[in-house]
Subunit: 484 residues, 3 copies
Amino acid sequence: MKFSHLHGYLAVIIQLIFFGLFCIFVRYSPDADARHHPLPENATKVETKMAHHSSGDPWIHARTYPMFQDVHVMIFVGFGFLMTFLKKYGFSAVGLNFMISALCLQWAILIHGFFHLKYGTIFVDLNSLLGADFTAATVLITFGAVLGKTTPTQLILVTMIEIPLFTINEIIGRQYLGAVDMGDSMFVHTFGAYFGLALSLMLYRRDSSTEKEGSSYQSDIFAMIGTLFLWLYWPSFNAGAAVGDDQHRGIVNTYVSLIACCFTAFAISSIIHKDKKFDMVHIQNSTLAGGVAVGTAADLMIQPWGALLIGIIAGTLSVLGYVYLTPFLASRLRIHDTCGVNNLHGMPGILAGIIGCIVAAMASEANYGPSLYEIFPARAPPHGTAQLDQLRVLLPDLEGGSGISATAQAINQILALVITMGVSIVGGIVTGLILRLRPFATLKTDELYEDETYWLVEAEEDEHEAHKTISIPMNDAADNGTSK
Amino acid sequence: MKFSHLHGYLAVIIQLIFFGLFCIFVRYSPDADARHHPLPENATKVETKMAHHSSGDPWIHARTYPMFQDVHVMIFVGFGFLMTFLKKYGFSAVGLNFMISALCLQWAILIHGFFHLKYGTIFVDLNSLLGADFTAATVLITFGAVLGKTTPTQLILVTMIEIPLFTINEIIGRQYLGAVDMGDSMFVHTFGAYFGLALSLMLYRRDSSTEKEGSSYQSDIFAMIGTLFLWLYWPSFNAGAAVGDDQHRGIVNTYVSLIACCFTAFAISSIIHKDKKFDMVHIQNSTLAGGVAVGTAADLMIQPWGALLIGIIAGTLSVLGYVYLTPFLASRLRIHDTCGVNNLHGMPGILAGIIGCIVAAMASEANYGPSLYEIFPARAPPHGTAQLDQLRVLLPDLEGGSGISATAQAINQILALVITMGVSIVGGIVTGLILRLRPFATLKTDELYEDETYWLVEAEEDEHEAHKTISIPMNDAADNGTSK
Amino acid sequence: MKFSHLHGYLAVIIQLIFFGLFCIFVRYSPDADARHHPLPENATKVETKMAHHSSGDPWIHARTYPMFQDVHVMIFVGFGFLMTFLKKYGFSAVGLNFMISALCLQWAILIHGFFHLKYGTIFVDLNSLLGADFTAATVLITFGAVLGKTTPTQLILVTMIEIPLFTINEIIGRQYLGAVDMGDSMFVHTFGAYFGLALSLMLYRRDSSTEKEGSSYQSDIFAMIGTLFLWLYWPSFNAGAAVGDDQHRGIVNTYVSLIACCFTAFAISSIIHKDKKFDMVHIQNSTLAGGVAVGTAADLMIQPWGALLIGIIAGTLSVLGYVYLTPFLASRLRIHDTCGVNNLHGMPGILAGIIGCIVAAMASEANYGPSLYEIFPARAPPHGTAQLDQLRVLLPDLEGGSGISATAQAINQILALVITMGVSIVGGIVTGLILRLRPFATLKTDELYEDETYWLVEAEEDEHEAHKTISIPMNDAADNGTSK
């Protein structure tokens, strides 16, 4: 048995280690803990301390849950079916997406938890699960760049390496730089895309484009299931973690950006084709670029026309990327991008980061009112200043920040983008070097984009049978034909 | 290049015009505007005035959002996949549905906004997006009547013309006549269906029924994805715009009507067939008629048995329509209805209007209590009357109406239905005359119900290979072979 | 016409009887009744009494609705598409699932209502609809065991018989024994599975395994739509009926159990195969076993590590069941289980019941705080005791229970499981005996797993044509043909 088929045993070992870690570290957060509703007299010290972290509202999860489920559907149905466009790789697309996501969610809860330990414990509630789903998206984007060219073992390794790097990068960006990125366009989309492209570069092979890389009529329709659920629930992805009117604005901005992006992508896809025909590849992917491009500024005051403009630019950029850039990357830069994640997540993610920087530079009390300091926490006056106390009259819960200027915030936004690019590319290269190590046997050419390598595909065989048998009754000549 | 292939350029022009209009007119409503939470001292006059239109609740969108997403899924996944039943038109069904919907949503926000300008501005929030989705349904229903027989250019024109007419008709019905129609059965379903049938009449062609009009085993299953999501989320469509217990009742009524309609449709579909076999066409469409038929009265006191009865009638009516009426319309009245929208949206819509009239005629304080005047605003006592003040003790927010009687309300309901029929039919005819103009070249017979006309279909080509070989049996040897 | 094709007429009769029963018994509950918002002076005695059953909150449905819709999707899209894995039975899988569910929902509302009459009336609101959906799941699980081997007439009879038995069994378990089962793992999954297996035993036939029982490449991907929506929305199934932090915990536990189960199922599926290949049957089904296994304890204090462990065990157990037990049952015990419901619902359901018993035995104020008595109502102190009054200081709404011990509760949990097994098996056997009666003609061998028996399937014929011709190029004549 080939080493490349040891993924089953590897998975069992990982799962058991996770169980151990869960036993030691993971507990319910107060909001999900029966003992906190109400807190009994015999409550432990930690429980009493944790009570301060509790919302005190037993229904606190109810408001987030519908948006959480939308994001959940995006991860498993959205990404899963989007990748079924390959005609002979449907099982792997939706199946490995399922398997890897289940691994991501567990690993993300643990890694995120280790970086945010409270009293040596990882406290889990619905927000933890939502965060885990966002993290999974990063790995699935990376998966898209190497789709059909990696073994399950390799995908498991990618997941184990990428998630810690993702978490560290996000902490640098959000906590240390105070960068805002409501829709995770930088921390999830840009990171996942360039990690994947760097990985693909390292795994480059001359034979990476085979006949099997194409789609079939059926597989293209299956892929539309993924596209539509991603497109429809994207507002939940961009606004799910926002609060109050920020969330409302995040929904409106994402919706507006997406409808403009969708219509523009159709238009450009047709214009650019010699016979003015639509290309399913663009419809399946470029229609979504608007969701990525508006992500960083999703909750900011960009006004509907701003969101519309972002959608138009993203849709155009993405289609042009598929037509001109993807072939160039593959032929010249030896970067083969199966799903074209650079056009759907990469470039739109960079665009989102730049837009975030521009909008942050223009943000002031004039256009945000006092809530400016809730949206850009780093701009809030430092703790103990008179200015902060004054603001607290209007916003009681406002916490002290570092009182930085709009320009400083804008610079931090760009820094976060640059660092994200750096960490993801270096991470992807290092991961690629590991995956190239001897044991992780690579696939043969005819095993690329092919389910039969790792899946029981009776149907295929049946069909072969069918054809053979059906052909026989026709006439003797046919038998001769086959016997030749 | 044929004029009929200029849709790409047309789309770009429209998108840019929309961008201009968004820049000038569209802004966040107070509920979605950061400056309103809280409103700063330096607020402008308009902002201060708009504050009165603000709910003051930063989470106002949270209650509507889940139902909005259900409706959103109905528009793109529901309608999109329902139309994939054609074996060679799947890309166009789900793809053009996607493109046209994205156009509808933008155009609907603008047109609805122009008819409801505040201080010369279109204020957008989640309700605007929900309203836009309802409007899109109208155009997609029309799309269903001419599915496979129109070019993208023609569909764009239909959208641009139909939405303003739809909006005017709804304003006449709701504002001037005070007609109620919670599920939009008259304003969306009836309007969309008869607009489409009139359009189909004008575009009639002898060759409109080709071999390609059929379905395949796979395409029929794809279509069930559309059917099920429409069927499941229909309660959100009928009750999404309702408030409090009206919404609760709207959910119950729609659910009950749909389960009875579904079961009845299966029964009639089997009974009517000579071998008692189920017909997928009925299962995909007639099971939904109950949602349309209960729409106008969805929030009214029809009791569960009333909803059940409506479902039974609608399911029967719809199946009979497919079996007897659709062929008759095509052969005798030269109205070819690809999806049979007359059976799913047309007749059930008229039925809904009539039911709405009957129920309105029977509505009284006896069976509605004081909330009668919230549900039928036109029946509320006029402003300044003692009767109104008295009611306000119980219902503080009740606004003055025109104090009309149950009979008057019932008459207005029927008037709204008749006017809807009139506007939609005339609108469809005029639109049809425009689409018949020279430039908008019509499709050749073999281009009907065929993706390859406007889509890059690599897979198809593969099949062509197959087809080539398939053509072989034409030669004698094959015939001999088979004749053995 | 065969008696087995009379299902259409049977359905009409049932539908009309249901209409009659709805007219007599079913009315809106106060929460959905316009007259209760606000209650008018001329309210009837019953209405005034019912007002006490009213929440008084006109938006009471809003919190449950999103979870209700998730469950609704599980029933129709989840179960419906999960069963489309059979290559020639797709129409029946998704179609009959649709028909039978619509029947279940009506029958469930009536039967549950008859056992909970208030003032001789069945009061319906959103909770009734949610309960009906849970009940439908039971019948659909049973359907899975006999998939492809029953006629529509037989399925209708099964539904009519199973739902009353299901309701009685649940009342015994919940009301008389005070057993808790938040995710209905015992009352829905275990009951439905063993009812189905008993039924399958009675309907056993030697020819029950035919070539048509297999899947095709396309049908396996369609089935994944069902799997994913079941897997994603399962937290709504297990927690939809819970309140406050119990619901929050139910979401977390189910999510954690499912991600562990999914990853484990993939691992075991690969390990167990000689070539280490994944088997779609396991991916489609065993990944869901964690949702069943954690169901009974979903809202209990099992901690995330407990949920994770349950998922690991369930995933392993389920895959092993498919590989070793299902063939054994079919060959040795003459129990042919088409979908392997024993591995997805049966054994995991029993596991859930045992876990529920163990967790109940360990439940105390120490780990639940006072809310122990809300979660295990039977353990609450009896009415009128000082202990109860004392608890009411913290929990005003707490109702008096029977003050049983943890051990007693644990025993009742096991009793409920045993009784469920007994009722379902006996019920399945009796139903099987009825289905074997002469009139309900059984299917011929070639009618098994075959849509054409009860569906209009034009497409199939087309394909046959294709196959015939495809064989031709095998012989020389064909080559000549092409060279001509």
